[in-house]
């Protein structure tokens, strides 16, 4: 009798589950379990999953599609599994990167700008980065934890090597899916999950809260008060903001709930004003404080930057982090790691071309049909060109854009992203995936085991961003003593 995986074709890609003589060891237990499920059984489990997500109200608005459409962010039934020793490398690599980026940002905003003076990063590149916020100059952050929450996007290439695709150091989202996927998975495939000795993720809330308290200003005392600041219900990630506040047991507030008095931030409560020491804000820099940034912003808190500067409140993530996840600055991160830490980067970048030098740019423009071109200050997969999938017309548009603004774009070699078997209409097919681990930096850097595995659900597509209509997988990092076969 045929089973779910019989017709599966790797089509020459690096596959997470199947290798040359068969199923990779760490997937054997789960594949065995899934093989034993009948089609009706699978369908039933998919229905259970849909019910769980619908009742949790998990949605993610996709910008650029019809306004107001809310759709679920579908979790695939087949989990992604990472063995302990493989994860150990990823974990160290992400922690190393975040540590270096924090040192860099601290040096830029309150330090001596050593990386500029020593020529590691060109001064002009920093000065032309949209995310470089001169308004944030001199604002202290305890422990230099400017990227308190980071989402470092990783991909695996045709050899299975983990590479960093981009850093998300402003307001990385997606952690709510990591936790919700796990909660759903333990109900949809309880036995398969229980057999595998998977490292837990459900301590993320306490882990984040602890770090937020660690970066509270010294004046906050023993029991600092933290809040989550959201732009409101119309934001695409509002669900996540509410989710995180609940996970941490702290207040979810909007700008109008906070008020600054004598350079101290307070929250309006039914019992009067309560002092706030740490703000995990999910509002972009531009909207954070109308005194300093956009004067027309009604989402922010007037006087907030002044309070932060006075050392009375800590803003998380720090203002101005966008300079470090600018995609042209990304190209210098391996050098920043060497400069600040004196270490070799554990996770390599994807091969990246900077376009302001004439020769390199012309070379890239000749190969636009083979490369990926990305705008430097965007995130979420917006406004990019995937050469091999683009029409001649689209390529010409990007040729003009790059010529008009060479600093505004980078080009990268296309990475043949690893694929993972994924349930598509009752069949298993290979789909490209990536991985966004979440790192929390307080007094030290900690990486949550796993992270969000995103799936490009369209056949052949390389774009996995949730904002571009991708799906997700629960990501299982195995305990040290587990080999994935289900036994010990």
């Amino acid at each position: 009798m045929g089973d779910l995986f019989d017709d599966y074709d790797r089509e020459g890609f690096f596959d997470e589950v199947f290798a040359d003589p068969g199923v990779r060891t760490h997937y054997q237990g789960v594949v065995e379990r899934l093989r034993r499920l009948s089609p009706t059984d699978l369908e039933r489990r998919e229905r259970i999953r849909d019910g769980i997500f619908r009742s949790a109200g998990i949605t993610f608005t996709v910008y650029g599609e019809d306004a107001g459409i809310e759709r679920t962010f579908p979790m695939d039934l087949l989990p992604r599994i990472i063995p302990a020793q493989e994860w150990e490398v990823v974990e160290r690599g992400v922690a190393q990167r975040v540590t270096a980026l924090n040192r860099f940002l601290e040096d830029l905003y309150v330090g001596e700008q050593a990386a500029i003076h020593d020529g590691v990063v060109p001064r002009w590149l920093i000065h032309t980065a949209e995310g470089f916020r001169r308004e944030a100059f001199g604002i202290p952050v305890p422990h230099g934890a400017r990227c308190l929450v980071s989402g470092v996007d990783l991909v695996r290439d045709h050899e299975g090597t983990y590479r960093v695709l981009e850093d998300n150091l402003r307001n990385p989202s997606g952690i709510s899916y990591v936790l919700e996927n796990r909660a759903a998975m333990t109900r949809v495939l309880p036995v398969a999950f229980a057999e595998q000795h998977v490292q837990p993720v459900d301590h993320y809330g306490p882990m984040l809260l602890r770090a937020l308290r660690e970066v509270a200003p010294p004046a906050a005392g023993e029991h600092p008060v933290a809040v989550v600041l959201t732009p409101g219900v119309y934001n695409s990630a509002y669900f996540e903001h509410a989710f995180l506040a609940r996970q941490m047991g702290v207040e979810l507030v909007e700008g109008r709930d906070l008020v600054v008095d004598e350079h101290v931030v307070h929250m309006r409560t039914t019992r009067g004003l309560q002092r706030v020491d740490v703000i995990y804000r999910r509002i972009d820099d531009d909207f954070l404080d109308p005194v300093v940034f956009r004067p027309d912003s009604t989402l922010g808190v007037p006087g907030l930057l002044s309070a932060a500067r006075a050392g009375n409140v800590t803003i998380v993530n720090a203002v101005g982090n966008g300079v470090a996840d600018d995609k042209a600055v990304y190209a210098f991160v391996p050098d920043l790691i060497r400069f600040y830490l004196g270490e070799e980067p554990i996770l390599p970048n994807v091969d990246t071309y900077l376009l302001w030098e004439d020769e390199q740019r012309e070379h890239v423009l000749d190969r636009l049909d083979e490369l990926v071109v990305k705008p430097v200050a965007e995130s979420g997969g917006y406004g990019m060109l995937i050469g091999p999938a683009a029409s001649g017309e689209e390529i010409e548009v990007f040729r003009d854009r790059v010529r008009a603004d060479p600093r505004g774009y980078i080009a990268q070699e296309v990475v043949a992203l690893s694929r993972h078997p994924t349930l598509i209409d009752g069949r298993v097919e290979g789909r490209h995936i990536d991985l966004r681990p979440f790192a929390i930096a307080g007094e030290s850097v900690e990486v949550l085991p796993g992270g969000l595995t995103r799936v490009a659900l369209r056949r052949g597509s390389l774009v996995v961003n949730s904002s571009q209509g991708g799906g997700s997988k629960d990501t299982w990092v195995l305990e040290d003593d587990a080999d994935g076969t289900g036994g010990r």
Partner: protein, 298 residues
């Protein structure tokens, strides 16, 4: 020259407003050409004023007033001593502007910025000044071009574009400063916008003697980077080099980086704004002579 400055900003609101949060950039800088002796900010209603130095080196005073109020008055009082400035070098070759390290150091002052976005008309006006062939000559050619425009109030507002100023050949000090900055940047000469005070003769009474208080306005001028020498300050509005009567508050890419007052409040928008600057020259010997006198006594 020792000067007393009293800078007053008064908002009268149509109805009580609350929760106002503000930033004031009114404090004279201390630099090689001027020395701040005294500075104090008072607000009514009263508030706790804290200060910091911003990215551009300007002192910023921040304060908030939560309680409802009809009038907000902010008074910044300063005493500052200004000194003479050295003359510009007689000649600097144009290729010195192309030095990589020089360009890199001044990149922020070479690019367009919020109020300094120029089009072909400013571009060609600038290029017409480039024939001079020497940095100093080009700098003064631009200066005289802008200085030839008519000073006319009521025609412009902070948001006016430099191309419009060029085509109108008229404006106020901010417009002239923005236009000159744009022309310099077009020519690859780093240029920055300066906000400050100018002690002038009182138009009505002609008063300029010691101890007479003179009503003036905030002023704006320009500084250009001369390779191998430093920043040269020019006042195109008054067709003169910046001297002892000019008091610098701050420098930036354009008005936005040094705007004297930024604030938000909650309540109806309608308000009247009154800004006054009173200046007075104090009877003291110039700092240089005083120091020399003290030294000779020792």
């Amino acid at each position: 020259m020792r000067l007393d400055i009293r800078y007053t900003t008064r908002f009268r609101y149509g109805a009580p407003v609350a929760e106002s949060q503000n930033e004031l950039r009114a404090c004279p800088a201390t630099d090689p050409h001027q020395w701040l002796v005294h500075y104090h900010v008072t607000t009514t209603p009263s508030s706790r004023v804290t200060s910091y130095t911003d990215y551009w080196g300007t002192r910023v005073d921040t304060f908030g007033i939560r309680a409802p109020h009809d009038v907000l008055e902010v008074v910044a009082e300063a005493t500052v001593e200004t000194g003479p400035r050295p003359d510009a070098p007689s000649s600097v070759p144009m290729q010195a502007l192309r030095d990589q390290a020089f360009m890199d150091r001044h990149l922020e002052y070479l690019q367009p910025s919020a109020h300094v976005e120029w089009g072909p008309s400013v571009g060609s006006a600038a290029q017409a000044c480039a024939d001079a062939g020497d940095v100093i000559d080009v700098v003064y050619a631009v200066h005289h071009h802008v200085a030839g425009f008519e000073y006319r109030t009521g025609q412009t507002y902070v948001g006016v574009g430099v191309d419009e100023v060029e085509s109108q050949r008229a404006g106020v000090c901010q417009d002239f400063a923005h236009l000159a900055v744009a022309m310099y940047r077009e020519l690859g000469i780093p240029a920055r916008y300066v906000s400050g005070y100018l002690f002038t003769v009182d138009d009505a009474t002609g008063a300029d003697s010691e101890l007479d208080e003179v009503e003036v306005e905030t002023h704006a001028w320009v500084e250009v980077a001369i390779p191998g020498w430093g920043w040269l300050a020019l006042d195109p509005t008054n067709s003169q080099n910046v001297g002892e009567r000019h008091v610098t508050i701050g420098r930036g890419r354009d008005y936005d980086d040094v705007s004297p007052f930024r604030g938000v409040f909650s309540g109806p928008r309608e308000h009247e704004l009154e800004v006054t600057v009173a200046m007075r020259r104090l009877a003291v010997e110039p700092l240089g002579e005083r120091l020399a006198a003290e030294q000779s006594q020792q």
